[in-house]
Amino acid sequence: MKKGFAQEFIGFLVVIISVVLLSLFFVSQGALKGGEVTRSVGGRNLDESANLALMALFNNEPRSFDKTYIEIAIDSIYQGENKTIVFYGKDVGVASSKQLLTSLFNDYLGEDRWGLKIETSNANIAYGNRISKREDVYNYESKIPLPGDEIGKVSLYVV
């Protein structure tokens, strides 16, 4: 009788352990998936923010200038020695592209998380932080028109 009981007990134990291991496996898979989903959602949110910031660069206009942010940035590169300041006439005054762009991208992406580079035939100007090449850097690029039928590029780096 004891032999039969022990055999059954071992059998029962094997089944219990198998079920437990199987359950643990399924739960860990779910947990991992959750982590991936969280990361995926986080990445998507950052992606959305960066795209919105890039759209704002082309479509939003700071007050009293009646010009888009990208236009102010390009004009400041083309006019004069200081590539981050532009004069728009007696009625409008001076615009600082550095100040305006820093404020815009800090609102969308937070400080220290972004870098912007504008490449023109005249000069290349960088705003924000220097972003080194890492795996977790998101890069967004867009072509930009320049005065005189030329074409340039704007690159946004986000960590």
Partner: protein, 413 residues
């Protein structure tokens, strides 16, 4: 009665069966719903990427439209629309002509920008050029000054972007509209147009011709016209005037006329001279003191009309410092430059003292020296009546040789 062994086998089988069903269900669920969901996400991700590229393209084209419009306005202003705004009579480009010229130039520039645009992703990308551009400016609003600071729309239509992959194809028709502001093109156009209509320059040159005057009178006329132009602008606009050329000639005798167009190619611009409706303010009729009864002696003479011809081209340039407009060297003041051209002749603009019988008309015979009460009036010039027409150099300016056409002298005010 079941043995214990039988019961344990049933229990084990039951548990294994339940576990297997659970495992198979979970695998089936992940395989079917998970991978299908993954496929959907992948498809959506592709679409998101394509739509993003289209939005980037639109952003690029909107900015291109802004630059193209400002450049077209600047080019038109700098050249005056490639025609003199005074060609004896007012000759300014109408609103329709101006809008069409601006629209054509803007369309060309936007399509040039569009041609240069490309994307870096592995997608098939095709473009359809824009076919129509409109400057939405009405005559009534223009006269009312609604566009004095810009604030007018430019619309470009019938363009397109086509993006496709192996299994997705998206076509987006492009119609864009942007408001152009902080550009005083129409403000300056309006004032130059009114100045051209009043035609102080043309009328003044005609008066010079009728008064037997030359290039010094033309210069005074140009200055009067300049002052008339200057007072039409506000304090933000500075103007200057440049002389391009001036030529003065004398012609044949014995005829009379009002101001007539003088077609010459010494000091000339290619423009169509409309029938002259200008008459000089100076009475150019020959007034001759005639003595009844012909007394023939060696001192008799005639006062005869002599043709006077005068042509002048002046450039008027005004610069607006209120708003700077985009340009290849960065934002700069908008410069509006127009030419004023007048070329007139008056067959009796001058008078000349010649021997009797040169022209039909009365002869003047002064009395004998003992009976003389007063000196006869003096007339200029006193060339040999047998000589033909010649070019007169105005000593006031000293720059009236025919070669001065390409050497404008700026006069800053």
């Amino acid at each position: 009665m079941l043995s214990k062994k039988g019961i344990s086998i049933i229990a084990i089988t039951f548990i294994v069966l339940i576990s297997s069903i659970a495992a198979i269900s979970w695998i089936f669920y992940n395989t079917y719903f998970g991978s299908r969901y993954q496929l959907n996400v992948l498809e959506q991700s592709k679409l998101d990427t394509i739509f993003n590229e289209i939005e980037k393209g639109k952003n690029y084209l909107r900015q291109s439209l802004i630059y193209s419009s400002h450049e077209s306005l600047s080019e038109f202003a700098a050249s005056g629309g490639n025609k003199p705004w005074i060609c004896n009579t007012p000759n300014y480009p109408t609103l329709v002509e101006t809008s069409e010229c601006l629209a054509n130039n803007t369309k060309y520039k936007v399509n040039t920008y569009f041609k240069k645009y490309s994307i870096d992703l592995p997608l098939n990308f095709n473009k359809e050029k824009f076919r129509d551009v409109k400057y939405i400016v009405t005559s009534s609003d223009l006269s009312a000054g609604k566009y004095d600071n810009g604030d007018f729309d430019v619309e470009i239509t019938e363009g397109g972007i086509i993006l496709n992959t192996e299994d997705i194809s998206i076509t987006d028709g492009l119609n864009l509209k942007k408001e152009i502001n902080k550009n005083r093109f129409w403000y300056m156009y309006n004032r130059f147009k009114e100045w051209s209509k009043d035609n102080v320059f043309g009328q003044g040159i005609c008066d010079c011709v009728a008064k037997c005057s030359g290039c010094s009178c033309a210069k005074k006329t140009a200055e009067t016209a300049f002052n008339d132009l200057r007072k039409r602008f506000d304090k933000h606009v500075s103007c200057r005037m440049m002389k391009d050329c001036c030529v003065n000639q004398k012609g044949g005798m014995c005829q009379q006329s009002p101001c007539l167009d003088w077609k010459q190619n010494i000091c000339s611009i290619d423009c169509e001279m409309k029938p002259t409706s200008i008459s000089s303010g100076t009475d150019s009729s020959t007034s001759v003191n005639s003595i009844t009864g012909l007394v023939t002696n060696d001192n008799c003479y005639q006062i005869v009309p002599v043709e006077n011809k005068l042509a002048a081209i002046y450039t008027y340039e005004c610069e607006d410092e209120r708003f700077f407009v985009p340009g290849e060297n960065g934002p700069h003041p908008l410069t509006f430059r127009v030419n004023a051209f007048a070329s007139f002749r008056d067959l009796d603009g001058c008078k000349k003292k010649v021997p009797c019988g040169t022209c039909p008309g009365p002869c003047i015979c002064p009395p004998e020296p003992s009976e003389r009460d007063e000196e006869p009036p003096e007339y200029n010039p006193t060339e040999n009546p047998a000589s033909g027409p010649d070019i007169d150099t105005d000593t006031d300016t000293g720059h009236d040789d025919p070669g001065s056409h390409n050497n404008p002298e700026p006069v800053n005010w």
